[in-house]
């Protein structure tokens, strides 16, 4: 027996009473911590790079967001000024100026020459100006509908200007159609030699044709709020949900990479099945913190969010649900490539039906009804509400966003615990 064997035997004798696999809770905890440390260690370079990149991003974004917030671009009660150019001093122009003065969200309406209006726009006194041509409703009399107003937008306030320009165009078409309907009656009346009934029938037909142009526009005007503000918050909510989901794809990668390999067999025989899986989910949670927290902090610094907790909870729920789902998918009995494809497919389907890419209000009604029951829908609504309400979300909304976590947890647990019957 050589020296090493003697030492080996002595060591074996010394720990005769010690099991070679973790049995007690303390031993299992020690075993789990070792696996977790190992997983963190393998991810440390990526984590460090992400921390640095996101810290730099926050440092860059915070002042911008803060300035933006100070300028109150998304304020619900924003005040805007416009110029109207009506060089022919038309009857309609005078009436129009009087009407728009009463519009609440318009701070000031200037009645300018073209040059003066241009000057105001350059000095940022107005966000847009509109020119009214002298023959504005000429085309209407001939029966064709054409846009003859000209809109000049302030490029430094493009979002607000575009928003208002859209409204002006809508109003213009509305007036144009009403005008044509009234004019149509008079014209028909004269053409039909004073036959009132026939004139009304023809004019009604014409008015209905005009109205039909608005049938498809209901979604745009449904909420009546500033569409760009909604779009920005929608995009931000989408980014936060997306960043919360991404670490789950790391869980999928790790699970699928190790699934049914000898390395996993070796580890499972000693540490069991649960510890490596939990370690993977916790490592993903650290990734989640690195990816999501800087954004939340940036939004807090910019005063878009006054409180972080509800939003952070909802987003943590998104990660937990996604991580459990990916643990389930990652252990599927299929080729690694197919497992990745399935994982990405689920990822995109959940994002799509959760309303992350497009608001679900754009979906057909039947699809909208179905989308409400997908796991990310409630979370997206909660995060969107948080962003629009300075971070405050009612507890029932937060709870609702967690509905998919328990089923996903059960799926993952059953799949991870199940012993293999196949090689």
């Amino acid at each position: 027996m050589n020296g090493h064997d003697r030492r080996s035997s002595a060591a074996a004798a010394q720990r005769e009473d010690v099991a070679t696999v973790p049995v007690t809770s303390r031993e299992r905890l020690r075993s789990f911590l070792v696996i977790f440390r190992h997983d963190l260690r393998t991810a440390r370079t990526g984590l460090l790079a992400a921390v640095l990149a996101f810290t730099a991003l926050v440092a860059l974004l915070s002042p911008l967001l803060k300035n933006a917030e100070n300028n109150k671009p998304f304020s619900a009660d924003m005040k805007l000024s416009v110029s109207i150019v009506d060089e022919e001093d038309s009857f309609f122009g005078t009436l129009f100026t009087e009407v728009v003065k009463d519009v609440q969200y318009l701070d000031q309406v200037h009645f300018d020459t073209f040059e003066k209006a241009q000057e105001r726009l350059d000095r940022d006194e107005t966000i847009l100006f509109v020119t009214l041509p002298p023959d504005m409703f000429e085309q209407t009399r001939t029966g064709s509908v054409r846009e003859s107003i000209q809109l000049y937008l302030n490029p430094r306030k493009s979002m607000e200007a575009a928003s208002l320009a859209t409204l002006i165009r809508q109003y213009y078409f509305a007036v144009d159609h009403l005008y044509s309907a009234v004019f149509g009656y008079q014209r028909e009346y004269m053409k039909l030699g004073g036959d009132e009934d026939e004139s009304w029938q023809q004019t009604t037909k014409h008015a209905l044709n005009s109205l039909s142009a608005y049938f498809t526009k209901h979604r745009f005007v449904e909420k009546g709020s500033n569409p760009d503000r909604t779009a920005v918050f929608h995009a931000l909510s989408g980014i936060l949900i997306l960043l919360s989901f991404l670490p789950a794809l790391g869980v999928l990668y790790q699970t699928s990479r190790l699934c049914r390999t000898d390395l996993e067999n070796r580890l499972t025989l000693i540490a069991g099945r649960i510890s490596p899986a939990v370690s993977r989910v916790l490592t993903g949670l650290i990734w989640w913190m690195v990816l999501v927290f800087p954004w939340l902090v940036a939004l807090r610094l910019a005063a878009v969010l006054k409180t972080l907790l509800p939003t952070a909870l909802v987003l943590a729920g998104v990660y937990l649900m996604a991580a459990c789902l990916m643990l389930f998918v990652g252990r599927a009995n299929a080729a690694t490539v197919s497992v990745y494809q399935a994982g990405w497919l689920i990822f995109f389907a959940l994002l799509l039906f959760g309303g992350i890419f497009y608001p679900t209000s754009l979906f057909p009604v039947w699809l909208r009804m179905g989308a409400q029951f997908t796991p990310l829908h409630a979370s997206m609504q909660a995060v969107f509400t948080a962003l629009t309400a300075k971070g405050s979300v009612s507890p029932d909304r937060v709870l609702l966003s967690f509905w998919s976590v328990p089923p996903a947890l059960v799926l993952a647990f059953v799949r991870v615990k199940r012993r293999r019957s196949r090689a």
């Binding site: 050589n2 020296g3 090493h4 064997d5 030492r7 080996s8 035997s9 060591a11 074996a12 010394q14 720990r15 010690v18 099991a19 070679t20 696999v21 973790p22 049995v23 007690t24 303390r26 031993e27 299992r28 905890l29 020690r30 075993s31 070792v34 696996i35 190992h38 393998t42 390999t261 000898d262 390395l263 067999n265 070796r266 580890l267 499972t268 025989l269 000693i270 540490a271 012993r419 293999r420 019957s421 196949r422 090689a423």
Partner: protein, 231 residues
């Protein structure tokens, strides 16, 4: 009488009875039976797909058998926690994280057993002095040759001084020197009363190492097999 029976069962080695396993509709193991006494090295030979790895995976409790009984020292395979504390499994692949150094690999696999730090340190210290790996403990695993990595894999499998050691193609990719060192270590373990089952498709190596070689063919031992004839 009961005490005598218990003592008798504790002296039993590995007992496999009527083991069957079907994978994707193919019967990989068919009514496989054999006994292996304690303190012996048995070899399982056979061509690719004969069922060697499946047999070892079942014995390692990685796969669930469809039927049959397995026990060692009176402890059945179904008592998984106790069974796993008995066995050391060295899989066919190297199955180690090649980003780690050999020293770190030993530390990880010792620590993952959840032992107290003092025992763990002692275990790692002993393992690092092992002639199988002592020359390259500071080398990164990815820089090790196939033979070196095999030796590390074996040392990791020996952690905890398991009573039943299951080795799946342990010499694959190992050079003559590595093979000789590993065989010497396995003989030593046998002499200390450890039970070792080695699966390999290289019959010469098995003949040189093992006390008995069982030839697996199409998921069972043919009738002429001495391992079966004895049962």
């Amino acid at each position: 009488m009961i005490a005598e029976k218990t003592k008798e069962r504790m002296n039993e080695g590995l007992i496999v009875r009527n083991l069957t396993k079907t994978l994707r509709g193919t019967e990989v193991l068919r009514n496989l039976s054999f006994d292996q006494p304690k303190g012996s090295i048995y070899g399982i030979s056979g061509d690719n797909g004969a069922g060697k790895s499946t047999l070892l995976k079942i014995l390692a409790s990685v796969l669930v058998p469809d039927g049959g009984q397995i026990s060692y020292s009176g402890i059945p395979l179904s008592g998984r926690a106790r069974w796993r504390s008995l066995i050391g499994y060295v899989p066919q692949e190297i199955a180690l994280d090649d980003r780690l150094r050999v020293r770190e690999t030993l530390e990880f696999w010792a620590a993952v057993r959840g032992m107290p730090a003092s025992i763990r340190r002692e275990l790692v210290k002993t393992a690092m002095g092992d002639p199988l790996i002592a020359d390259f403990v500071d080398k990164a695993l990815r820089e090790c040759s196939g033979g070196m990595a095999r030796r590390v894999s074996l040392v990791v499998g020996l952690f905890g001084d398991p009573a039943l050691l299951l080795l799946d193609e342990p010499f694959s990719g190992a050079d003559a020197h590595s093979r000789s060192l590993m065989m010497e270590r396995l003989r030593h373990l046998r002499d200390r009363g450890r039970t070792i089952l080695v699966a390999s498709h290289v019959e010469n190596t098995l003949t040189a190492l093992c006390d008995r070689v069982l030839h697996l063919e199409g998921g069972h031992f043919p009738d002429s097999n001495p391992g079966v004839a004895a049962l």
